[in-house]
């Protein structure tokens, strides 16, 4: 399941969906808001394009690493320090595949999915990964 959502990510639900009697390993990546001196972040998506891209990435990961299930949920909106921005869950027969699949999805997502983060502090705000204009 691929989702871009304004509401809190339920890793629990994702893990339930990824469980299978054929799976011996499940690897989960959770990206959380790290305290970098800011108070909160805003996450923005080009929703339709991001969903398309995430589906493509999911399919690539499933077939390359023989995954049994791959779940990706990306949060949008305003998030406080400590909250989950992104969750990826991959299940496979063996751990090698589950680790590689999960890693593949996060790396490709960062390169290809049209999503942006803005850090908001008391005094300043800054789009992540952009040189100041």
């Amino acid at each position: 399941m691929i989702q871009i959502t304004e509401t809190e990510i339920s890793l629990d639900e994702m893990i339930k969906r990824a469980r299978s009697k054929d799976a011996g390993a499940m690897v989960t990546f959770l990206g959380t808001v790290r305290d970098d001196g800011m108070e909160r972040i805003e996450v923005e998506a080009f929703r339709e394009a991001a969903l398309m891209e995430l589906e493509a990435i999911q399919e690539e990961a499933m077939s390359r690493f023989h995954l049994i299930a791959a779940e990706v949920v990306h949060r949008t909106g305003t998030l406080a320090v400590g909250e989950s921005i992104l969750a990826i869950v991959c299940s496979a027969a063996h751990r090698e595949e589950a680790f590689s699949g999960c890693r593949y999805i996060i790396e490709e997502l960062k390169k290809r999915a049209p999503l942006w983060k803005k850090e908001l502090g008391e005094k300043c705000e800054r789009w992540v990964g952009q040189t100041s204009t």
Partner: protein
């Protein structure tokens, strides 16, 4: 012809999230960007350097497919096309 322009992140803050532009037939991506720059000095400053070249970090999609700003700016747009403008990706 009618082109939908979508802008995200820092470019959304300058241009607004969505706007419809009416351009002459056979207008190119470059024509559209110049029209936006003429209408919004803040966009011109954010997107172009002093020599009038599109800055490196300006990313573009036509109909949800990335185009290469070093090669595809002369590409003619079609009635109903959607052009998206955004800075480098930072998801995850």
């Amino acid at each position: 012809m009618r082109i939908m322009v979508l802008a995200f992140a820092s470019f959304r803050e300058i241009l607004g999230k969505e706007r419809v532009l009416f351009l002459k037939e056979s207008a190119t991506v470059s024509d559209l960007l110049e029209e936006l720059a003429a209408a919004r000095p803040a966009f011109k400053e954010a997107a172009f350097d002093d020599t009038g070249t599109l800055r490196d970090y300006v990313l573009l999609m036509v109909n949800r497919k990335r185009i290469d700003p070093t090669q595809d700016l002369s590409r003619p747009l079609q009635e109903g096309d959607e052009l998206a403008i955004f800075p480098p990706l930072a998801g995850g």
